[in-house]
Symmetry: C2
Subunit: 143 residues, 2 copies
């Protein structure tokens, strides 16, 4: 998944996004501050968003892979809240609030042709929750 | 402003964000699809957001510069809506919905210690409005 992100999304390579832990229900990723800074030396708002949206994407894509499912994964909309400046290296964390097992996922896709994955991705720096992203991922079934 | 963005925000340099037109009330910027693509060859959700938030930032920062004002410009929260895939090079457009003249800006800062700049930044590709970002910029006065 790390290689997928970095090879196929140039921005993820540049931002040095690295997945540290990826389970079927949760993910932890990191990135250094250096490529992701703004003119104040703190985390650029856009970099924080990009790291978070890619981390959430990886969690949902991995969940589909685990379930042996295919589908087109997109983000419909997302809201980011910035609470404190990101002053050092960045850690991203996300987990599913509602867990569906593989057969639930497959029957939902068969019945509705899509699955919504609302997700909150938290952005930490120096153990402080500096920002969080609420993103609405949607998996569309292959027609 | 172009140099400021590219020199001091590494991500803006990588994304090749280029300001094409910057007036006190409006901005137009562009970026090529290549560094901003995802694994499908369309615009990466994070890149679209980053280009848009930096474009809005440049418009507000320039407005402060024009008014001869100083202050700390931050984004509090922002929501992006993705409507269509970005299939080619990207154009960003934003303008202020409410225009305040310099003296209005200065008296607002003097009275309230902050100025809110809610802004919508539209993301176009091949003349189609593919996405838009609603971002709440805030300028905080120097204490």
């Amino acid at each position: 998944m790390n290689r997928l992100l970095k090879t196929h999304i140039p921005l993820c390579g540049f931002m040095e996004l690295a997945i540290k832990s990826l389970e079927s229900h949760s993910i932890i990723a990191t990135a250094p501050i250096q490529p992701n800074r703004n003119m104040h030396g703190t985390g650029f708002a856009g970099a924080q968003y990009s790291l978070a949206v890619a981390t959430g994407w990886a969690l949902v894509q991995n969940r589909l892979d685990v379930a042996g499912m295919e589908g087109q994964l997109v983000v419909r909309e997302a809201t980011i809240h910035y609470k404190y400046p990101v002053t050092s290296d960045i850690t991203l964390k996300a987990e599913f609030e509602v867990e569906m097992n593989d057969s639930e996922l497959r029957s939902k896709m068969a019945e509705e042709g899509r699955i919504n994955f609302p997700l909150t991705i938290a952005i930490y720096s120096e153990d402080k929750r500096c920002a969080y992203l609420n993103a609405d991922y949607v998996v569309l079934g292959r027609a």
